[in-house]
């Protein structure tokens, strides 16, 4: 027997036949299929006991109570707390995925410095001490006429108070707040009358909203939606926003002429703005005369009406001149505003002289609004140092030379001040649910170090709670179960502190009295005059830029805020929300400009230009461009990126008022 090729083949044939009678092929078939069900690059699930913990959302000023489902030290989902009136179980999409933020790809964990070298951006890590030293060096050599500014986007906190104290210790230190949108009308009312004002939305039967996204990122969603069934909503806005779509009545108005309608209403209600007949209002604002009369009649008939003109988080606040008018309207009707709340301390950054900031320290908290960088940039001196204390590289971090990251959401003990729509003053703690990463620095503590005045935030918070306890006023709502306990039932301040640390909020009781219901003639006169001045100043058109650009943002997705990468569900994996840098125009406008839905275009204003994606939307007023400040599809989850224009960068702020309307030009890219 010789072993030739044929023998080998026969042997192989035998082996192949034999293999069929062994487990090898069958088991491998099974195993390979099972392998595809568990292959190693799919993450393994966390294991452990599932527990429920509570905190309070700090992503925007709304102060929503949060229930977290946790596995060990890791929240795996967040929801609202159904048992409290503050939440009614609601949380916005940004808050629902807030527990992802510590793992955001654009998060900074350690401090670093960003320098422009030969036109390229170089990034070098450094320690918090080195960062503090670098800032101190700059502070010591601060040129005359330049100031050190702490920018606080969430005033009303204990931290804000610390900042005010520290500002006094810094060389030519100033404490400023960013342009506020939410709570603007009530803040104005407060400053006009000297009485703290809060709204009792739950008792309102009519709400007239001027461009306020009442149902889409304003106030505390749970509270607004719970009240929504009881009030009639009239939305005055140049485009069919989500709020306008869900309102009982939508009144389209030419951009920038809201004050004209308010004057007309005030005229019909009080006779103060003589000359502002419904016909004149129609000619200025485009609102039909009969609509003006109808709204006035409804306001007159309402038992508890509210006029809210807080503006859009991306559209900017109304000017103080216009705001006095809206505040006055609240006084001219039977109002749902009552004398309650905490005096608001705001020092708008607009008050600073232009080009005066030498060092800008940006706090980590976000107002939720999309403040265009230009609003801040025009106040910066040449070669000013911008320090971002936010844990994210986007937002103000995009413009900062130094980044000293704060702990991310849920990583450290934080505080939550009164919500803008709260019926009374409130306070809550946001206990941490995730262990903080080493390297993060509490902004207030960092600035305190610069001022040579060490502060520990948790100690200050404890002091605040002790003070609350000492007053014996108000009540505490525990998130677990919604149980309400009067403050005076807490025997010690430690008991109160512990309750707040387990998830609870403190709130002031509602007042019995009413807000001053009749405005003085002097107040009305002043409001009318300033609004008229404002209207006269606006409205100049530039033939080169024939379109009116209005900007919108969805709260907590623009400005200094950051969203979970999971929000691609809304922006990229569906067309539910328009991503940042998209520009909506009416079909007529698109036809005139020869632009198609989904096409690329260049949006140009006096301040620059920005590439935009065109959205053709029959709900936008012809001649108007409604552009979105917010996360762009490629920036929701992508790697850090610096530069690139956004809509916010090309909005033109003017004088005391921001960027509500900018004349613009749109052409095909």
């Amino acid at each position: 027997m010789n072993f030739g090729r044929r023998t080998l083949l026969q042997f192989a044939g035998g082996s192949a036949a034999g293999a069929l009678f062994t487990p090898i092929p069958w088991r491998l078939l099974w195993d390979s299929a099972v392998w595809t069900q568990n292959w190693s690059w799919i993450p393994k699930l966390p294991r452990g006991e599932v527990t429920e913990k509570f905190s309070t959302c700090t992503l925007c000023p709304a102060a929503c109570p949060v229930k977290a489902r946790c596995v060990g030290n890791q929240p795996v989902s967040l929801t609202g707390v159904a048992a409290t009136a503050e939440s009614n179980g609601a949380l916005c999409p940004v808050g629902l995925a807030g527990h992802h933020l510590p793992y955001h790809p654009k998060r900074a964990v350690l401090p670093f410095r960003r320098r422009s070298v030969n036109g390229k951006v170089a990034v070098s890590p450094l320690s918090a001490d080195e960062a503090a030293a670098a800032i101190a060096e700059r502070l010591n050599a601060l040129p005359a006429g330049q100031s050190t500014v702490i920018l606080d986007e969430r005033p009303g906190r204990v931290t804000s108070r610390i900042y005010q104290t520290l500002a006094a210790k810094l060389p030519r230190g100033e404490y400023v707040t960013s342009p506020q949108t939410e709570g603007g009308t009530l803040a104005k009312l407060e400053s006009l009358t000297g009485t703290p004002a809060a709204m009792n939305m739950a008792g309102a039967d009519l709400v007239v909203s001027f461009g306020t996204p009442l149902l889409d990122g304003w106030g505390t969603p749970g509270r607004v939606f719970a009240a929504r069934d009881r009030f009639r909503l009239i939305q005055v806005e140049p485009l069919l926003s989500r709020t306008a779509a869900a309102a009982d009545l939508w009144i389209p108005v030419y951009p920038g002429t809201e004050a004209a309608l308010a004057l007309g209403l005030l005229n019909l209600l009080t006779g103060a703005a003589s000359g502002w007949t419904p016909e004149k209002v129609q000619s200025v604002s485009g609102v039909p005369a009969e609509s003006v009369a109808r709204i006035a009649a409804e306001l007159k008939a309402a038992k508890a009406a509210l006029v809210i003109a807080d503006g859009d988080p991306g559209g900017g606040a109304f000017s103080p001149d216009e705001q006095s008018l809206f505040a006055a309207l609240n006084l001219a009707v039977d109002s749902a505003v009552h004398p309650c709340g905490v005096p608001r301390v705001t020092r708008p950054i607009e008050a600073l002289p232009d080009a005066s900031i030498g060092v800008l320290l940006c706090d980590a908290a976000s107002s939720g609004a999309g403040t265009p960088w230009r609003v801040i940039a025009r106040k910066l001196a040449p070669a000013a140092m911008v320090v971002s204390l936010s844990p994210f590289l986007e937002g103000y971090g995009r413009h900062a030379e130094l980044i000293v990251p704060a702990p991310a959401y849920l990583e450290s003990l934080q505080e939550v001040p009164t919500a803008p729509d709260a019926p009374a003053a409130g306070f809550a703690l946001a206990p941490p649910l995730i262990p903080a990463r080493p390297g993060a620095t509490e902004p207030a503590e960092f600035i305190a170090r610069l001022a040579g005045e060490p502060v520990t935030l948790s100690v200050e918070l404890k002091k605040h709670v002790e003070a609350l306890h000492a007053t014996g006023k108000g009540e505490v709502v525990r998130y677990a179960g919604g149980e309400v306990t009067p403050v005076k039932d807490f025997k010690t301040s430690d008991e109160l502190w512990n309750a707040l640390n387990q998830g609870a909020c403190w709130r002031q009781g509602l007042p019995a009295g009413m807000y001053a219901s009749k405005p003085s003639a002097r107040l009305l006169q002043a409001a009318v005059q300033s609004a008229e001045r404002r209207l006269a100043a606006g409205g100049q058109t530039d033939p080169a830029r024939p379109l009116m650009l209005i900007t919108t943002a969805w709260r907590a997705t623009a400005g200094n805020a950051q969203v979970s990468p999971l929000l691609t569900k809304l922006y990229q994996e569906s067309e539910l929300r328009e991503p940042g840098n998209s520009a909506a125009i009416h079909p007529d406008t698109s036809q005139k400009l020869n632009l198609k839905h989904g096409g690329q275009a260049i949006l140009t204003t006096a301040c620059g230009s920005c590439p935009v994606a065109i959205v053709v939307d029959a709900g936008v007023m012809p001649g108007v461009v409604s552009a979105v400040i917010g996360p762009t599809v490629d920036s929701i989850g992508a790697a850090p990126r610096n530069g690139g224009s956004t809509i916010g960068d090309i909005c033109a702020p003017d004088g005391d008022a921001p960027w509500r309307v900018t004349s613009a030009q749109l052409r095909r890219a």
Binding site: Q10, G14, S15, I24, Q37, V50
Partner: protein
Amino acid sequence: MKHSGKISFFAGFAVMLAVGWAGFPRLLYRGTPQPLSFSHKVHTGEKAGMKCEDCHVLRASGSFGGVPALESCAGCHAAPMTGTAPEKRLIDNYVTPNREIPWLIYSRQPDNVYFSHANHIRLAKLACKQCHGDHGDTDTLRPYQEDRVSGYSKDIWGSSISRISFGRGRRDGMRMDDCVSCHREHKVSDSCLACHK
């Protein structure tokens, strides 16, 4: 010449049978010793007298605690009780530095399996032994055998590669088929998502 063809064919056949039945199972699994030796027998025996559920707790939420965390061990073994070598290792390597013991779980199902001990213990009234056999009476922990391809514990497939076992009543293997056959036998739900997640 005429027969040599058949001979080499059957030689190949026989060699393959041997490789497939004897060699392949050894090659398929990777054995890893447990981090610490542990005797269930000592703990459940007369001396300690513990029951399964003393350590393997069923929580009120219905979730199952599985292999107990270190604190259960440290409850008794914070200081040496018996002075044995494994106990010393337990205290030195885990209890003192407060480090969880990385046990390898024989009966661990993949992530896509939902198994409720609550359903099986409280409602079906199954005894631990019915699925876990005499694991609770063993004196040592055998090495953990992992399927190199699928990553499953050998206990999932069962001890016999042919899946023919001559055990005494208990089911050998914890594959889906094993679950399904018992479910069908007892006329309880066998829909996919009843046991998958």
